[in-house]
Amino acid sequence: MNAREKILNAIAANQPEAVPLPVIDKDTVISYNDVGMQFNTMLESIGGKAVCIQDLQVLKESVNADKATGKFIVNTIEALGEVDEYVSSLSAAQLEKLEKAYIKGTVGVAENGAVWIYESQMLNRLVPFICQHLVLVIDKKDIVPTMHHAYAKIDTAQEGFGVFIAGPSKTADIEQSLVIGAHGARSATVYIIE
């Protein structure tokens, strides 16, 4: 008998009598008067930055200004100008000098400041992690109160990879002192389009 059969048989023999699966009632969990405000507060509390904008003009200018510095900047959002499709095939060594990435998110979560990004939105799985500075863009209408609502809006089986990102990379492994910028982005800014 191979390991698989052995394990599954032992589990079948030892598992307790069936008990039902509870139902999650989204309507009984926390609600916020202003999810946008809650999202901003949470994001700022975890070291991120929230910027509310009326239209894309400031963002377009920001992308252009960043690119003009000559640093390695990646834009993955069509509405902001030319999309840097070529990054999809870049290796880690080629992405190592990535200074800043602009990525569109699908959902923002008010209770924790997280933003969901699909693989197709980041073009290359490494981009949101290897960049020094991360810029995420979400529509205000896509901010939901809790993770329960977030999972109702996304489909985790739709693409090969997806991630909730909440603020910049951090660690407190040295004497519990919080340090921002462990291995991932040193800063995380979320633009919220009103």
């Binding site: 999650i24 999972y151 040295i174």
Partner: protein
């Protein structure tokens, strides 16, 4: 092997450091309280999580088969390992097949449990741990002392010395910011060169065949999205039925662990990226046996948040290494006797049974009751050393006889008042490190009978 009491003695020899350790973990516990109490519906959320896990355990075979089928359909190779040795061999085979030399690993308590690093080192293969805390203890050739905060037993001076030795940082520069930056640069090189990334799994979803890995540092992603091969290792209890259940567990996990509302990264892996190869190793290593132990199977609901560690008065004052196992703390004390009862017979006694662990556990495991039940089991199986056994037998005898209990109590109070040195002496191991409380003149029962019992 040195036992918990003896190892604790070593730890508490440095009193200021013990106090610091105690206070630091208590601080983490307080952050957890703030996050939990700040979230309306926290108790319902715990109840929901507990019920989902109960349901999952009662349908585990079905969900594991479903997960395997889905994962395979997503192009992932699924392996099964009956024990740690099989787990290590599966990984070694993949390494050999691809002729891999550069390996990075993010935090996985399972690989610690299976002693993967030692096994591979024996074959001449080096694995670089990439979680900052794990890298620190790896340099120092120590095991992690905590499942979430691996280097919590160390002070920044210790880290500074270690990094000075291995990463050539400035001598005496103890600034955590500076030290973290040094590790960032050092590990970026390792990530860029990595050919194989090993990660743990926080949750595996039966419905989709996908799995979720949570980190604050981003190290799991830096490795997994760089390397040509990704191996994710999981104990079979990581399974949950559906993606919507992730909401429940992600809301609980970070709040219970560190008081954060969520970890920085919650990465959902479903398929390998183009040109990449992805493997999942599903490990038993005693878990199916634990599933069959009615009194202890609940331990398989654990989501490894370590809230029970941070709150435990014994853990905080004895340090993770005193538990002499990969997983320490109250959780370790209820899972390790199942794996090796003889070697770990001391662990269920490393507790005051105060119940604080069960109170904070996000999936409502009856941890302190299991500790109490393990004590009966290890005593019944003859794994308890003589001094403890004599005491326990005597206690059981007295507790079984109310009259005897009352008489012994009276005698005890009289002896403590009249001849305190009979208690306060070197022969009484319990008295070490403790001051005897002032002896009450009356027992509670006498007081109750006199004042309320009429």
């Amino acid at each position: 092997m040195a036992k918990h009491a003896a190892l604790s003695e070593k730890f508490i020899a440095d009193e200021p450091r013990t106090d610091w350790h105690d206070e630091t973990l208590w601080f983490v516990r307080q952050k957890r309280d703030k996050a939990a109490h700040g979230l309306p519906g926290w108790e319902q959320l715990r109840e929901l999580a507990s019920q989902i896990k109960n349901h999952t355990l009662s349908n585990l075979e079905k969900y594991l088969r479903q997960f395997e089928q889905q994962a395979k359909a997503n192009g992932i190779t699924v392996h099964w390992a009956a024990d740690g040795d099989e787990h290590n061999k599966i990984i070694h085979d993949i390494i050999r097949k691809h002729n891999i030399e550069k390996i990075v690993k993010s935090k996985s308590m399972l690989t610690e449990e299976c002693h993967l690093n030692e096994y591979l080192l024996h074959q001449g293969i080096e694995v670089v741990d990439t979680d900052l805390g794990e890298r620190i203890v790896q340099f120092r050739k120590e095991p992690p002392s905590h499942i979430v905060l691996p280097a919590i037993h160390l002070k920044k001076q210790d880290v500074s010395e270690t990094f000075h030795k291995y990463l050539q940082t400035e001598k005496g520069n103890n600034d955590p910011q500076y030290l973290t930056e040094a590790a960032r640069q050092h590990l970026r090189d390792k990530f860029i060169q990595s050919e194989l990334a090993i990660t743990g799994v926080n949750f595996a979803v039966a419905e989709t065949g996908g799995f979720v890995v949570c980190t604050n540092e981003g190290n799991a992603d830096m490795g997994a999205h760089t390397a040509a091969v990704h191996i994710a290792c999981m104990g079979f209890e990581k399974i949950i039925p559906k993606a919507e259940h992730l909401a429940v567990f992600l809301r609980l996990l970070a709040r219970s662990a560190t008081g954060q509302a969520i970890t920085t990264y919650s990465s959902h892996f479903l398929k390998a990226r183009r040109g990449q190869e992805m493997h999942i190793v599903i490990v038993d290593n005693g878990r199916s046996k634990q599933l069959g132990r009615k009194d202890f199977r609940n331990s398989l609901k654990c989501i490894r948040c370590a809230a029970c560690f941070n709150t435990c008065p014994v853990y905080r004052r004895s340090g993770g290494h005193s538990y002499h196992t990969a997983v320490a703390g109250p959780l370790g004390s209820i899972i390790n006797p199942n794996m090796d009862m003889k070697a770990n017979a001391d662990l269920p006694f490393a507790s005051t049974l105060c119940g604080s662990c069960s109170n904070v556990c996000p999936v409502k495991i009856d941890i302190h009751e299991q500790l109490w039940k393990w004590r009966q089991v290890v005593v019944a199986e003859g794994y308890v050393d003589a001094s403890k056994k004599t005491g326990m037998r005597g206690m059981a005898y007295i507790l079984a006889k109310p009259g005897m209990y009352r008489f012994a109590g009276k005698m005890g109070r009289w002896v403590m008042r009249t001849f305190p040195f009979m208690i306060n002496n070197k022969l009484n191991a319990w008295y070490k490190q403790r001051e005897m409380p002032e002896v009450p003149k009356q027992s509670f029962r006498d007081w109750y009978l006199k004042n309320r019992g009429k």
